[in-house]
């Protein structure tokens, strides 16, 4: 249809009215480009900034390295594509700003160009996809793992159980070991984690060793961990798991073969039994612990006054039905779901800064009386929910989610701390 027939106005040509309002455009692209360059630079900085304990770009184990080898080129490609887009946009923005040029031809595009520009990203992505596929398969392959640890998440700590399987016995694990917070593994060994949860979904993550794998109640997910060399690797739960999610921390400690054997041997030891007549400070603490703590916390080997074994029954008190086993509390560097350091500042630094070769020796020292972060431990015993947010209002069944304020006297606290120090 002829346009002109529909016009009421005279069809004479008019001068195109030039935008008068805008003034700023001149340096638009430079600012945009500047901003993005800043961002790009910042991104680069991130990989060489101060050591962050959970840095995802510093692999110290096999799976993490495979991921890293994949993600570095992907980031590079993404960065290059980004820079190209910004340059083109920047160029277009400067070159084609309104300088009084005539109205451009009303072209609706060039199909050939479109198709080419569709194929290019497709090819790039297909290439990335191929490498991605390979890595997915490699990381999921758990064959050849020599050791198994059952990892169980609950609000807000991790439990590690080393079953005495035939495979694990090769590492001296002849009796099951149950520990929490710190996963101790032999370096250079592929450890298969079998993850689950006792309440809500948690996610196990030690960035230096592998990516995340959710621990889902009712399901068992396999995840493998292998550290190149002895080391102390930070991580934390990364699936939002309720109130104290931020405080659900974890560490993996890789020890050389010899140190690991020492650790295993020590973990299988039961705790000292103090005679009921003994009135040493440790024995008083032993009884105070038994009276106030052993309803929930298991200490292997502990005995009641009548000589029967003291068996904790956390299932009667706690929603998840489990609390940390404290038999070897003082072999760990942190406590309360790894929220707080059990070592004082100096000793913590000594551990975190230990060279790979010394790490085993430092770690196996455990928490000596010089190193104990006594203030924090006492504060915890005084009022646990005040230190770490927990749901300590009993639910309909009278169960708690976390350690309540036990109303201990200062004397009891002192006594219990004295006893806890014996749990090495």
């Amino acid at each position: 249809m002829n346009h002109d027939t529909r016009r009421t106005g005279s069809p004479q040509t008019m001068t195109v009215h030039v935008e008068t309002r805008q003034t700023v455009a001149r340096r638009t692209w430079r600012r945009v480009a500047g901003g993005t360059a800043l961002l790009g630079g910042a991104l680069l900085l991130s990989s060489c900034s101060r050591n962050s304990p959970q840095d995802t770009w510093k692999p110290k184990g096999d799976s993490a390295r495979k991921i890293d080898n994949l993600q570095r080129p992907v980031f590079l490609v993404a960065g290059i594509v980004g820079v190209i887009v910004f340059l083109v946009v920047g160029y277009a923005v400067t070159k084609f700003r309104d300088k009084g040029q005539p109205i451009p031809k009303q072209s609706h595009g060039k199909p050939a160009l479109e198709i080419v520009l569709t194929i290019i990203p497709f090819v790039i992505l297909a290439t990335i996809g191929a490498f991605t596929a390979r890595t997915i398969v490699q990381i999921a392959d758990t064959k050849g793992c020599e050791m198994t640890v059952n990892v169980t998440g609950q609000q807000w700590w991790w439990e590690y159980a080393y079953p005495a399987t035939a495979e694990n016995q090769k590492y001296g694990i002849t009796k099951p070991i149950v520990t929490s917070g710190e996963l101790v593994i032999p370096a250079g060994t592929c450890v298969l984690l079998r993850e689950t949860s006792r309440d809500v979904i948690h996610s196990f993550w030690i960035p230096a060793l592998n990516g995340k794998k959710d621990a889902v109640p009712g399901r068992v997910h396999e995840n493998k961990l292998e550290a190149d060399a002895p080391g102390y690797f930070a991580g934390q739960c990364t699936e939002f798991c309720g109130l104290s999610h931020a405080n659900m921390r974890q560490w993996a400690i890789a020890l050389n073969e010899e140190d690991f054997a020492t650790w295993v041997q020590n973990q299988q030891r039961v705790a000292t039994v103090y005679a009921e007549t003994d009135d040493s400070p440790e024995a008083l603490g032993y009884r105070a612990f038994r009276q106030n703590c052993s309803r929930c916390h298991q200490v292997n080997g502990m005995q009641n006054a009548d000589g029967t074994p003291t068996i904790a029954a956390p299932e009667n008190n706690i929603v998840a039905g489990s609390v940390p086993n404290l038999t070897h509390l003082m072999t760990r560097s942190r406590f309360a779901g790894e929220t707080f350091p059990l070592l004082n500042k100096t000793c913590t630094e000594r551990l975190t800064k230990a060279a790979s070769e010394q790490l085993g020796a430092v770690y196996l020292e455990g928490v000596t009386s010089d190193c104990l972060n006594r203030t924090q431990l006492e504060a915890w015993l005084r009022n646990a929910p005040g230190e770490k947010p927990m749901y300590v209002k009993p639910d309909a069944k009278g169960l708690l989610r976390g350690m309540p304020n036990l109303g201990l006297s200062e004397k009891q606290i002192d006594s219990i701390v004295t006893y806890l120090q014996t749990l090495k």
Partner: protein
């Protein structure tokens, strides 16, 4: 041309069944009278006019933008330094849950509805949407749901399970307060609003386009809105199921997420993300539509590869259904699923990339004017590209297992949603403000608004890439030196948040001074941007009946082609008519006997009954019955209502010759 609730024709009937049974307004059946020409607040509350409804959607959404923004500020204050003490763990968990819920469901979605409601009928040359009363129902239902969700703040605390509300953490045992109940039922209510709105807009787009407007002459914004509405139609029921399962588990003891009964917590995740991923496109495609309108106008070129953009939008909408599990790479799917979803996710980057390329090529060779609307559109291209590329890095599943649930992801989706969705919406504010309110927003304040927002968002979200890759997880009310050395970048993020807030404050100031100004310069000319599409072929703001005469469409960018033509001698594009002349021609051919739907009480009644049921579910089952009774009465009144008020056949005042002359003078 008329719009009443019941169509008067029976085009679908087979031939030979006799004359269609038409019901003219005077014969309209019904029990209750409709409000007649209400004034003041009643004019707004009972209105069924898509433009008023659009404005109200916008106002309410913006209020929630402020609410969500304040929640974000509190989050940033808490994280400004290690071991923040601004909020308790409990408050923090509620804050990030409600921040996301508010921004997603109560700001971006309804703000897109605001634009869709206002502009889709105008862009396709219709007098209203297909079902005006359902449209009003959608608005009030959204408002009811939004207020309901937020009431939880005053009735025992907000929901605290994260906006993704993973079971079993969201079940009664692990979240015993009422926050999650308010959240679940509130979203259920807003879901009803979205669903009815979606059906309404699809029918409008499909059935009510102006003569000559084939699908591929439809403006690209309307295209994107249509794709989004299809996504809503199919995504909302999935979240509805998930929310029902959650509510029934919490309220009636359903076993769906009880692991001891053999339940699988991944069920929730699948349902949530089958909805949740299309939801991402629901959030961002309207903004893609807006910038696809703005870029051509201020480049004075048609959208490059219009059909490609339209089809890639549809393709995104389609493929978007096959990628949901990329939110679950760490959740323990088997390697095969991970592989398939990883590949599918990479493929969806292709149509997304097509859009970026097309926008850039739209500017290429153009004649660019850097108005605030254009700056926001260019800002979207740049910021969304960053978000899109970081998206590709975690389509790579193994790499995602390192990045997921860290601040890297937070950075990614804020570049997509703030740099994408929200920049697009702001571009739309500046572009369409004169259309809606007849006033031009101040460009100087606009530029301040834009630059502060660009700087603010990059300062806020840029460093999150870094702290995320350094291993700072999301959703933590505190961090310390033992896991992340991120003091510096977190502080920068917080500073950035304040810059961002300042930018948004500039917008509010801009609106206030624009509407207070007595300077005649703020009055918008008929065609302030030399625009291209149909909505500009009427006055600012448009009359109740939108167009004096429905234009017949011959071209994509009809308005532009009425103004400009190629001069065959010089092969240059010359202006052949002014907007005023085109307008005058429309007015000269004004249609008579225009019927518009009359206002109605009933949509409001039905909407307000829904939160009553919600309160009933939470507090007392008697209220459920009361609410249900009100719903039924409301629906009864609705269906018994006459199609139009008596003596309220809307006859637009015929344009006078003087008015026409004034325009062309």
């Amino acid at each position: 041309m008329a719009i009443i609730e019941q169509p008067r024709t029976n085009v679908a009937l087979p031939a030979g069944t006799g004359a269609p049974a038409l019901v003219t307004p005077k014969e309209a059946k019904g029990m209750f009278a409709r409000p007649v020409e209400p004034k003041g607040w009643r004019d707004w509350v009972f209105t069924v006019d898509h433009k008023k409804i659009g404005i109200m959607y916008g106002v309410v959404a913006f209020v929630f933008f402020i609410v969500g923004g304040l929640e974000a500020m509190l989050i940033r204050l808490q994280l400004a330094a290690p071991n923040g003490k601004v909020l308790s763990a409990e408050q923090y968990n509620q804050m990030f849950t409600m921040h996301a819920t508010t921004m997603v469901f109560l700001f971006v979605m309804p703000m897109a509805s605001a634009f869709a409601n206002y502009f889709v009928p105008l862009q396709i040359g219709a007098r209203d949407v297909a079902f005006p009363r359902i449209n009003a129902f959608g608005l009030w239902t959204f408002v009811a749901g939004a207020i309901f969700v937020n009431l939880s703040w005053f009735l025992g605390g907000g929901a605290d399970g994260g906006w993704f509300m993973y079971a079993p953490n969201s079940t009664k045992m692990f979240s015993p307060g009422h926050g999650v109940d308010f959240w679940a039922f509130g979203l259920q209510i807003t879901g009803i609003a979205s669903l009815t709105g979606a059906i309404n807009l699809i029918v409008t787009c499909i059935n009510m386009r102006a003569p000559g407007m084939s699908l591929f002459k439809m403006p690209i914004f309307t295209w994107m809105i249509m794709v989004v509405q299809f996504l809503l139609v199919f995504a909302m029921p999935v979240i509805t199921v998930a929310l029902f399962l959650l509510s029934f588990s919490r309220g009636f003891g359903g076993a769906f997420f009880d692991v001891k009964q053999g339940a699988d917590p991944l069920l929730w995740q699948h349902l949530f993300w089958i909805f949740g991923h299309p939801e991402v496109y629901i959030l961002v495609l309207p903004s893609f539509g807006i910038v696809s309108e703005v870029l051509p106008v201020f480049s004075r070129k048609p959208l490059f590869g219009y059909k490609f953009v339209a089809i890639s939008g549809a393709a995104i909408g389609f493929v978007g259904w096959g990628v949901w599990a990329h939110h679950m790479f760490a959740s323990g799917l088997g390697p095969i699923s991970v592989l398939v979803f990883s590949m599918a996710t990479m493929m969806i980057a292709v149509p997304t990339g097509v859009k970026i390329i097309n926008w850039t090529l739209t500017m290429w060779g153009g004649k660019l004017r850097f108005t605030t609307a254009m700056l926001f559109a260019i800002g979207l291209i740049v910021e969304f590209t960053i978000g899109g590329l970081s998206g590709v890095t975690h389509a790579v599943a193994p790499s995602d297992t390192q990045q997921t649930d860290t601040y890297y992801i937070v950075a990614h989706f804020h570049y997509v949603l703030f740099g994408g969705a929200i920049f697009g919406l702001f571009s739309g504010f500046y572009y369409w403000w004169p259309k809606v309110f007849g006033r031009l927003l101040n460009e100087r304040w606009g530029k301040a608004n834009f630059w502060l927002m660009v700087i603010g968002m990059n300062l806020t979200f840029g460093p999150m890439h870094i702290v995320g890759l350094q291993g700072q997880p999301r959703r933590m009310y505190r961090y310390d030196e033992s896991n992340v050395h991120a003091r510096f970048w977190n502080a920068i993020s917080t500073v950035g948040a304040f810059v961002l807030a300042l930018g948004i404050l500039c917008f509010i100031v801009n609106v206030v001074i624009t509407h207070r100004s007595k300077n005649p310069a703020v009055k918008a000319p008929l065609d302030p941007w030399d625009a291209r599409s149909l909505e500009w072929m009427t006055s600012n703001p448009p009359p109740a009946h939108n167009f004096d005469a429905i234009p017949t469409v011959h071209e994509l960018d009809e308005f532009f082609h009425r103004k400009y033509a190629v001069d065959h001698e010089t092969d240059e594009i010359k202006q052949i008519a002014t907007a005023e002349q085109i307008m005058a021609e429309q007015m000269a051919h004004a249609e008579k006997d225009i019927h518009l739907p009359s206002p109605s009480y009933w949509p409001l009644v039905v909407s307000l009954s829904l939160p009553i049921i919600g309160f009933g579910v939470i507090y007392s089952h008697i209220l459920i019955a009361v609410g249900a009774l009100v719903t039924i009465l409301g629906l009864f009144g609705w269906s018994m209502e006459p199609s139009v008020a008596t003596k309220d056949d809307y006859e637009p005042p015929a344009p006078t010759d003087d008015a026409i002359k004034e325009l062309t003078a």
